[in-house]
Chain length 341, copies 2
DNA sequence: TTGAAAGCGCTAACAG
DNA sequence: CTGTTAGCGCTTTCAA
């Protein structure tokens, strides 16, 4: 079994020497880009195998002006649980094409993001996925013009760039419809303080779905807090401390939902018997750990990553491929936090 | 501001042309590896600047047999919250040297890991960090011989390879000592079913620290479960359902601790008044979200990543640098789950 | 102080 | 069916 040192050192010429052919033949025997006598081919394959030869993609790339690398620009894509799935999804699809992913986080600093873009430029990555933590609208940095680019979890006004983002309205629609189907009529909304596309879309979906069911929206049932468990506890106070408390609450995310569990528990309310809860994200660490398990709408980060890279390959193969924008519908994952009223 | 297309297209020759010098001079003016007439240098710099020239590291690397890439081999390093910190730490240090990190996950499949190693070999990465999710002992794959290698969160018997891992004994020692300092004498241990170095080390530290305090170890206070919240609930049943229940529990990780919170709550036990709890990991998503906040020993994943890459650079700069093995002490993060008995 | 030219490992015209 | 050769973009001898 050849070790690293060997791999590093054995080149196409060594293989050629052992097989007794020219490097050209080795190249073609291996790539199959040109017919090669079966016997010769066999000899080359054996030689290559025995030497543990692995073609250096950088050398080939130098000629082809390719690096076989996809860059992922994130804010905290490496350090948050679900965002990491996006990189993992990107990696999966990249791997199917023998590509590799370089993921760079900005930590929410615009300067760092600019540096990261430059870094990807220097390294001549073949495509870029620009991913955001929270679904939002972004302006594509001018430096990124000219490289196959896809936005993940973000949208932009420029119709020439492809993007994929969750359908926020549908998230709320599906969640609220699920509660309505369980007979709930008084449904609260524990949302975030942040002013993102996610917040706006979900609020819209929440309101529309209620109205469509003939329920007048009670604005006092919409409460805002930081999107953390502590925020959720705060919202629980506002929502559950009143006589006409809701029988169900749709939470902006799983962390708020966790806070709601805590607030409910503190008041002796049982979930789901006394209060039904639906979250958004499906952070396994929370949604599976809560008791009962949290019914939640799963953000398909892995899929966002997969789609983005697939799209990049499309436009790499055929640069005339038109840009595409998609809002994906997210799946409701039923666990145990919703009951009939 | 030059866009991607420009960066991709402008080469050292373009700069040379504009500056009216040879490519050799451009190279040296930019790298400073050879004295260049200050005026000439100035001209080159200006030309390079105006064209937005960024040297292609692959081209230079081809000559230098360097790729300026560090590979990270993980199992689920991208998809779990804290492990991602390891990659982020690796990235940070890599970035300081204009290196970049390629992280590949095996999803716990040995075949995939072998493929990933081959992939890093093909790409001629300059160094490899092999990271494990749970501190364990590993055999270094033979293919990895000959590349600067550091194990993170893993150890091996071969003294020629560097590694860094948490000091598991000290984790338990610090946690238990913290509980002892709060007057607890009956301290349970909710550990995992897994048979890893982490489990063994923490058990040892737990026992030794109790004995050192003159407390005989009550084996019935050591309960095993899967290291999840559900497992923690299970352990809570075994631990808290008895008349002589412990006044404090040291949990193998934060997820088990969360289960313990739930079990305690179900029995009407308040934390920390009736039961003190200490976890391990410091998964913010849990430790900060629980109420009260979880006192826990933080696994320094970011530091593991940083140290590993720093070590690789050491041996890249001076290949004769001796291997180094370190057990790091982890910090106890005090929140609100421990009280005086 | 500067340049010409070789070569890193590979692919692909262009010959044969 | 196979080989020779010219680069890909850069660094670095070697020469001037």
């Amino acid at each position: 079994m050849p070790g690293w040192q060997d791999v590093q050192n054995v080149g196409i010429r060594d293989v050629a020497k052992v097989a007794g052919v020219s490097v050209t033949t080795v190249s073609h025997a291996l790539s199959g880009r040109r017919p090669v006598n079966p016997e010769t081919r066999e000899r080359v394959l054996r030689a290559s195998e025995s030497l543990g030869y692995l073609p250096d993609p950088h050398a080939g790339g130098l000629r082809a002006s390719r690096t076989w690398v996809i860059g992922v620009l994130g804010e905290a894509v490496l350090t948050t649980p679900y965002a990491g799935q996006l990189v993992a999804g990107a990696q999966e699809v990249a791997d199917e094409h023998s590509y590799v992913v370089i993921a760079l986080d900005s930590g929410f600093s615009p300067e760092r993001e600019t540096r990261n873009i430059a870094m990807l430029g220097r390294r001549r990555v073949d495509g870029v996925v620009m991913a955001r933590m929270y679904h939002q609208s972004v302006d594509v940095p001018a430096e990124l013009r000219g490289v196959p680019l896809v936005l993940a979890n973000a949208v932009t006004s420029d119709p020439s760039v492809s993007w994929i983002a969750p359908d926020e309205r549908l998230i709320a629609t599906d969640a609220v419809a699920h509660l309505l189907a369980h007979g709930h009529r008084r449904i609260g909304f524990a949302t975030t303080l942040d002013d993102t596309a996610a917040a706006a879309g979900r609020a819209e979906g929440y309101r529309d779905t209620l109205r469509a069911a003939g329920i007048e929206v009670d604005e006092s049932l919409i409460v805002r807090s930081p999107s953390t468990a502590a925020g959720g506890r705060h919202s629980a106070e506002a929502l559950l401390g009143r006589a006409d408390r809701p029988t169900a609450v749709f939470c902006f995310n799983d962390e708020i939902a966790m806070g709601l569990y805590q607030g409910a528990q503190g008041r002796g309310l049982r979930i789901p018997e006394d209060l039904s809860v639906v979250g958004v994200d499906d952070l396994r660490l929370i949604s599976e750990a809560l008791q009962p398990g949290l019914t939640t709408v799963a953000l398909p980060h892995r899929e966002l990553g997969r789609w983005s890279v697939a799209k990049i390959f499309q436009s790499l193969e055929d640069p005339s491929t038109p840009a595409e924008q998609v809002f994906v519908r997210c799946a409701l994952v039923e666990r145990g936090s919703v009951a009939h009223v």
